[in-house]
């Protein structure tokens, strides 16, 4: 029920935004909205796919480490350091994806040229 309300609210808000743009200039509004949707979709997909891959990778690594420590508790120090290296490498990928998503959403370098091109500025 809550999900339905959220989805319907979002659709209504997006329709209002679209109508507001369309009143100014329909073609410009369509082009601007297309760019906006593309950027938001790219940002969401970037962090989503990266989180999926990172989660799977870290899970596999952690499972191996935990199994190793359970079989040989004395080797926990070496296993921990080795896993730390692996996890740091894997996690950096998710951080890169987060940075790319944030850049797309808040500091997209091509935002101004595109806005100028479609006539929004």
């Amino acid at each position: 029920m809550v999900r339905k309300v959220v989805v319907l609210t979002l659709i209504a808000l997006l329709s209002m935004v679209a109508v507001a743009f369309a009143e100014a200039n329909p073609q410009v509004a369509a082009a601007g909205l297309n760019v906006y949707f593309g950027v938001v979709l790219a940002a969401g997909l970037a962090i989503g796919i990266a989180a999926l891959g990172t989660g799977i990778g870290q899970g596999i690594g952690l499972r191996g480490a935990v199994e190793g420590v359970a079989r040989n508790p004395e080797a926990s120090g070496k296993i921990t350091v080795t896993m730390l290296i692996g996890l740091a490498m894997i996690e950096s990928l998710a951080i890169y994806a987060l940075v790319v998503s944030l850049i797309l959403l808040y500091a997209y370098p091509m935002a101004a040229p595109i806005a100028k091109f479609v006539g929004l500025q």
Partner: protein, 130 residues
């Protein structure tokens, strides 16, 4: 804490992380604009703090005899993640630093580990050649 510091590999990684960060900062100061260098500084600080906290969390979660509760480990993990995301959000959204410098700073650990891996490979190949 003392046990972790006693591990020579981890100590070496930490030292080399700092060295790579300082080298990147120096190169940025000489060759790049100040916002780019600021990005390297901020990104490096974020990733080094992240690495340090990750090491602490793993040690407390995997060392027999020093185990903390799973809830504490999970809470620390998500706090670290949220803190990193928040810092990166403020740095990027308010354009405090150059994004490419930030990415360069965030690559400190990756660059260091890659260089160390290459060095180990060189040692193995060199030993095999002899």
């Amino acid at each position: 804490m003392a046990g972790r510091e006693a591990d020579p590999l981890l100590r070496k990684i930490r030292l080399m992380n700092g060295a790579v960060w300082v080298a990147l900062l120096g190169a940025g100061l000489v060759f790049m604009p100040w916002r780019f260098t600021l990005g390297i500084a901020a990104g490096g600080m974020v990733i080094l703090a992240n690495f340090h906290l990750l090491a602490r969390a793993l040690k407390s979660g995997l060392t027999p005899g020093q185990l903390t509760t799973p809830m504490a480990v999970i809470a620390k993990y998500y706090l670290r993640l949220a803190g990193t995301a928040l810092v990166l959000f403020f740095l990027i959204a308010y354009r405090l630093v150059d994004p490419f410098g930030l990415i360069m700073g965030l690559s400190v650990v990756v660059i260091n580990l890659t260089l160390m891996g290459c060095n180990e490979m060189r040692k193995i190949l060199f030993k095999e050649a002899n």
